[in-house]
Symmetry: C2
Subunit: 149 residues, 2 copies
């Protein structure tokens, strides 16, 4: 594979390890997703039987380098917005218990070149607010609810 | 004034009220800053004698609608990065005690059109990590350290 999982103690490897700790579910709400190492971790979880759901932004999912097509192709459920505004969240929820959120888009540019922050939060009140937002968006972006013109 | 402070119970008005609770200091680390209502709140604090420091991204601070020039002109200390990568943080720290961070850029587009999150965190460990990052960046972007070619 051209993109092995990162090792050592970099911020990226710590993020990957947090994701790989998932045993039951991984809910992803990501504006942009082009980082191959993170996509590989998500695919691994899906293959292990973890329930992965992914919500993303319609305008960014087709950009060069986007991993969304590959993830969809591997059988992961992906939904996207239908708005002109951005679905600008960048968070993950592991096993409905650990929230990972911040300024970081899951792109190679962000990881390699930007100044960014990622918070890992286990406080139940914070996690619940993001879980509720995830479920709201997941329902709102259900293709069964699409409107056409 | 063309941009009164927002009232009522919108997410923007709650954010503004959090900022206006500052009594001693406001540290801002913002990728983009074009929202006039938020700029007005920051100027108000500066006029009240609160110590405002602002770090921003060099490539975004000159864009149409940016409030950075106006804030600088009113006497607020502003520093910016010198890199090709983005200074992509979007956080504020009130009185070294309350952290406000999330996906939200302080732009009118983000506030009006996007799906975004903002966390307000008072846990000292989280606040300290962001305070440390702010001080690191503030020193790193000190114009006295600029290199020219």
């Amino acid at each position: 594979c051209p993109c092995p999982l990162p090792s050592g103690d970099t911020a990226l490897s710590r993020l990957v390890r947090r994701l790989l700790s998932a045993r039951r579910s991984l809910d992803l709400c990501l504006f942009a997703f082009s980082c191959p190492q993170l996509a590989r971790a998500v695919q691994l979880l899906h293959r292990r039987g973890v329930r992965v759901r992914l919500v993303t932004d319609a305008q960014y999912m087709g950009l060069h380098g986007s991993q969304i097509g590959r993830l969809r192709h591997s059988g992961i459920q992906v939904r996207h917005d239908q708005h002109s505004g951005y679905m600008h969240h960048k968070f993950a929820i592991v096993d409905q218990r650990v929230l990972i959120t911040g300024s970081l888009n899951w792109t190679t540019q962000a990881i390699q070149s930007n100044r960014e922050n990622v918070l890992v939060v286990e406080d139940a009140d914070y996690v619940k607010a993001f879980l509720d937002e995830f479920e709201r968006i997941w329902e709102e972006y259900n293709p069964a609810n699409y409107t056409f013109f």
